[in-house]
């Protein structure tokens, strides 16, 4: 009896494996074939949304060997910028001034999501620094050179 039940369970699991295989291929044909012809950058925009062009704009505006203090209100911006901006060193904060140490960073970057209710107020001392303002999709990016 135990052998029969054991065999039945194995047959069931094997059959479920075959079913998953067929379902995966069906899903591939239905949803994923068009992706083959898209470039990696298009796919990144699809998966990361407008955060990706924001990070790319930081990349083109900040030199390689710099360190930046990045203020933004979401973790995705944090990790993506850390990843794509390397060798620039990114220190992330969700608030404007917490942990900020003068002399430790070359740039101070504030990313405002214009759709969000949370708006960053730029600290007074930063207003005298040379800066760039860039708009990408629903983001306002302010880059201050320290």
């Amino acid at each position: 009896m135990s052998k029969v039940v054991f065999s039945l369970l194995i047959i069931t699991m094997f059959a479920l494996g075959c079913y998953s295989l067929v379902r995966n291929y069906a899903s591939f044909v239905k949803h994923e074939i068009p992706e083959i012809f898209e470039s990696d950058d298009i796919k990144r925009i699809k998966y990361f949304g407008s955060t990706y062009p924001v990070v790319l704009s930081l990349k083109s505006n900040i030199p390689d060997q710099s360190s930046l203090y990045l203020v933004a209100d979401d973790q995705k911006t944090h990790f993506l910028s850390k990843y794509f901006l390397y060798p620039r060193k990114v220190f992330f904060s969700e608030t404007v001034e917490s942990n900020f140490k003068h002399g430790h960073f070359d740039y101070y970057v504030v990313i405002d999501n214009l759709d969000s209710t949370r708006k960053y107020v730029i600290p007074l001392w930063l207003k005298f620094q040379k800066h760039k303002e860039i708009y990408i999709s629903n983001y306002k990016i302010q880059i201050f050179m320290l």
Partner: protein, 439 residues
Amino acid sequence: MSFFIGLISVLFLSGVGLLTLRIINIKNTKFIDIVGYSLPLGIGFVSFQLFILSMLNLKWTLEAILLPWLVIFFIFLLLNKEKKIRINLTKPKISFSHLVLLGLVLVQMFFVLVESQLRPLITWDGWATWLFRSRMFFIDGGVLGNVQVFYDMDYPVFLSIAESVVYFFLNRIDDRVVLLFYPAVYVSIFVLIYSFLRTRVGNYYALIFGFMFISLQIVVRHAGRFDAGQADLPLSLFFLSASIALVNYIKTNNFKYLLITFLISGFSTQIKSEGLPFALVIGLISNVFILKLKSYKYLFLNLVWICPIVIWELYKVGHAFPASFHFTKGIYVYFERLPQIFIGISKELYVLRHWSILWLLFLYALFIGFTNKRVFYKESIVLLLVAVLQMLSYIFIFLITPHKLDVYIPNVIDRLLLHISPIIILVIALIYSRVKINK
């Protein structure tokens, strides 16, 4: 073109593993029986080599990666030029059912390969840790302790080092091609399961159980549909290969298998933190058998798995890595959490979309085992012991962690179970083969 260069880089890692296996030279084994160990050994040796280069302040280049292995390879060829390489050209007997099963396995592997190359890196784990560091190592030409400290990364580095090897072959960062690494791990796991089971339950069932494992959706997801953790499937490979080598050591009392066991379990400590309890578990079981088999001279081999741990810990001390903030107030064991932990684990066992009925099958196999002791024997008991002790180490972590368990367990439990799941499929297969014989 990038795809093929990426493929060559992964084959290089495997090739280094094969070379070391040829040097270790286990007698009376077929290629299929040792090839499964090649990727974990290759990852371990090449990462160790590059880590040592960084400690010596030497920059990594493709030449620096390749040269030592080419030298070793040619010395090996020179020393063995008398020995003829025998290639068995006799046509293996393959029945139609074997061909169908093999076809299913290959179709499954092809799917995973295509999925892995369909999109660039899209996972949090990848940006935050594993491939972020590969990117870092490629750009910096090595592991820079100060950068690791800046990003507060005290996680082991071997996996990221091994993945950065792909970038050195490509001479640029390509975070789609690098994902070829995962189908390679996937294939290696299948090969290990198949090669272990074929001599114990026969080719036919070895293919069936191998397919059952690689068709689990959680495994497919980790190998190809990359929306999950990045170090967990490689860790499964290390756990599986070390456990199989341990079983082979116990079966043959051949110290070469013990050496492989210790090498792979030592390397696993540098893949992910969970490798540390695993190395302790393997060390404990191995030493029990060393004493039981009165092979006292093998005790010194323990240095092999202890060495990578000591080097990494010294490196962290040397670079003043900040201490973990988790246990600043000391370690307290919250035994009252046990019911919550068991409920959390049980809930995951029955997630069909991850595990199919693997755990139901396992529980049934255990039930059969405990009601009919004849179906348990040394090999299945050792594998079961490894899996159970590893799981107990995770339960212990749950008992002491300062994280909130209602969030923490659902976040990690599928990955923790993934680490031991290939060992579980072996236990099921071994028990099933005994049930078949006994009835």
